[in-house]
């Protein structure tokens, strides 16, 4: 892999709650290379969103963070609000799940777009307008000039998400963090938004973090995949390896319990028993052990660390090698 755009080391995110402190992300390290798409997969509460909200300095007020997130030689976690403001929306951008709540409802789309250019690049209003309209056209918004003067509520969900993508691309970012960018969208629109992100990655060499629960979305776009469970990374590897030969029982279970259009329909779906873990009360040893079909005595007491798997990548599991196709 080439030099990383973002290098996260030993990231810990904690939240102070009425019931005591909760660790949302524990000791997470990963890096994202230039022009690379890293898929982050996990269920609700796995810490996949909180990891990158922490990196962007967007944690809720009761959150605290430690560790490192190095971008361009700067640790984002200690850089301070002023330095972050120079980077956010400029070199580091985000696309959120719900475009209605992440666009300002009382500002025209055009002003929200030009604001980014005026703030970060210091261009005048006319230039900003021209560039913004050009970007709207680039993300295939029909009648871009007319939409420029509209309010977010006047646009459909798909168009709003295109505006979000346009905004994220305006300053030529080094990294886009897309947090469930298509979860609220219909499938035909989802396919179009994913195409836009793919084009940004291929044509502009932008690195992309794609946070999603949808394994199909990851399969289409990601170069590498990181799987999170209970606030920890449980497996990370090249996309083909993750889908062909997952090394962690959780990854294997997720793949097996996803109904898919390309399979002969089966009578019953394979399931992962039990519930995702409660972060306030994580199981001892490996957090996945109460749900794992391969659980051993060791798993209940000793937490596995990330080690190289037999087919490449890293996995946090005491099993030496997982039997493929067994789940």
């Amino acid at each position: 892999m080439n030099a990383p755009v973002l290098d996260i080391k030993n990231l810990i995110v904690r939240f102070a709650t009425n019931d005591g402190e909760v660790a949302a992300v524990s000791d997470l390290s990963l890096s994202i290379g230039k022009g690379e798409c890293l898929g982050i997969v996990g269920e609700s509460g796995s810490g996949k969103s909180q990891t990158f909200l922490a990196v962007m300095g967007l944690l809720a007020r009761n959150g605290s963070v430690s560790g490192e997130a190095i971008y361009g030689g700067v640790n984002l976690l200690t850089a301070g609000e002023r330095a972050l403001n120079e980077l956010r929306g400029n070199a580091l951008t985000m696309v959120f799940q719900d475009p209605m709540t992440s666009l300002t409802p009382h500002m025209k789309v055009g002003r929200q777009l030009t604001e980014v250019l005026i703030r970060h690049r210091g261009v005048d209003k006319t230039t900003a307008r021209n560039e913004a309209v050009a970007m709207l056209k680039r993300v295939q918004i029909p009648e871009a000039e007319r939409r420029f003067d509209m309010y977010p509520h006047e646009l459909s969900g798909g168009l709003r998400q295109r505006v979000m993508v346009a905004m994220a691309l305006l300053c030529g970012p080094a990294l886009i963090i897309a947090d469930e960018p298509t979860t609220a969208l219909d499938v035909t629109v989802q396919a179009q938004i994913l195409d836009l992100i793919r084009r940004a990655k291929d044509e502009l060499d932008t690195a992309v973090v794609l946070i999603t629960h949808d394994l199909g979305v990851v399969a289409g776009l990601a170069d590498r995949v990181a799987v999170m469970y209970g606030g920890r990374l449980v497996e990370i590897g090249e996309v083909h390896q993750i889908f062909r030969a997952p090394q962690h029982p959780y990854t294997q279970g997720l793949l097996a319990c996803t109904p898919r259009l390309d399979d002969p329909a089966t009578a019953t779906l394979v399931t992962i028993p039990g519930q995702p873990p409660n972060l306030q009360n994580l199981p001892s040893g490996c957090s996945y052990h109460p749900r794992c079909p391969y659980v051993m005595d060791r798993c209940r007491v000793e937490r596995p660390v990330l080690t190289p798997g037999v087919s490449g990548g890293l996995k946090a599991c005491h099993l030496d090698a997982l039997v493929q196709g067994a789940a």
């Binding site: 035909t188 949808d214 390309d262």
Partner: protein
């Protein structure tokens, strides 16, 4: 096929939407469901798919008479539900239940799980003893995979998957013949979704339920349905047996939907051809003339603008509303 339990004929649900006018408001009809017909037999699942705004939820509710029907008939075991008065309808309702999308929002937060599940029994069998109700609730809870000790807990103490199990138990306790499932697994995590799908399929097997399974997720619909209906702007585009539809979809809209669904396999997902369709759903207040899909259809010609395509037979049990399905 045995005589249908449910026979829906030319069902229309039109809403009057205010479109300006100061003293005397002008109203335009929004044709949420516009001429839908289908049969449903005992033990059969009809999947209803389509993108947001296609009328799939409205259709489900209209079948249960939870919304005023504008025209058409809903025949239940031969008798027309739309002709019944309130009292007669209430008596019928114990045969017909619904499961909603948001598991927490569809449960009363101030009632315990046990009370929620018992409520339908108290409504319909007021003479039943407390002990008998309790026994019935315990048995139902066991069937949907809830532990007996959970009976006195409140909805907020349960996870999403468990709340959905409570919703399923509430729907099942009267032994209904028809259950309308409105996006029952869309809000659930991947590993929990598979558990709930299996539960619904087991219950159907055990009780010979007829199900209307409304979902935007084609992979799930394919897994659970015997037949599938594709809706667009309130009209049926295509209806067919599951295998016929997924092997040889005839309607360009069905093809577009199917090819847009991401497949969790990196090689297949990146290699697969896509049927591209136009970006935006037309306003349902002002639907296109002729075929409602023509503004997004890659095959559209003049005839599509002039003539509404009727449902034509494209094989046994396979009907499609397209002028160009043979091309």
């Amino acid at each position: 096929m045995s005589a249908p339990l449910l026979a829906v004929r030319d069902l229309k649900v039109h809403f009057q939407v205010r479109s300006g006018g100061l003293l005397f408001a002008d109203y335009v009809p929004l044709k949420a469901v516009d001429g839908v017909s289908f049969d449903l037999a005992a033990g059969e699942t009809l999947g209803i798919v389509g993108e947001s705004g296609c009328g799939k939820s409205t259709l489900g509710r209209a079948v249960l008479q939870l919304l005023p029907v504008t025209a058409g008939s809903v025949a239940w075991l031969g008798g027309d539900l739309t002709a019944l008065d309130k009292k007669e309808l209430k008596a019928r309702r114990q045969d017909m239940q619904i499961i909603f999308q948001d598991p927490l929002a569809s449960l009363d937060p101030r009632m315990t799980a046990g009370d929620i599940i018992a409520e339908p029994v108290r409504n319909f069998h007021s003479g039943m003893s407390g002990a008998a109700i309790k026994a019935g609730v315990q048995e139902m809870m066991a069937q949907v995979g809830l532990l007996p000790g959970m009976v006195n807990r409140y909805p907020h103490e349960f996870s999403g998957g468990q709340c959905q199990r409570i919703g399923i138990a509430r729907a099942m306790i009267l032994g209904p013949k028809l259950v309308v499932c409105d996006e029952p697994v869309s809000a659930l995590d991947v590993s929990i979704r598979a558990q709930v799908i299996n539960l619904l399929m087991d219950l159907q097997q055990a009780y010979g339920l007829a199900m209307l399974f409304i979902s935007h997720d084609l992979s799930v619909v394919r897994h659970i349905s015997h037949r599938v209906m594709v809706l667009y702007l309130g009209r049926v585009m295509e209806i067919a047996d599951r295998d016929a539809l997924f092997k040889a979809a005839r309607h360009p809209y069905t093809q577009a939907l199917m090819t847009a669904v991401p497949i969790p396999d990196p090689d297949k997902e990146r290699a697969k051809p896509r049927v591209a369709v136009g970006v935006d759903l037309p306003s349902p207040l002002n639907p296109p003339s002729g075929c409602v899909f023509r503004t997004r259809c890659p095959k559209a010609t003049q005839v599509c603008a002039d003539v509404v395509p009727p449902l034509e037979s494209a094989g046994p049990g396979h009907e499609v509303a397209c002028h160009h399905w043979r091309d």
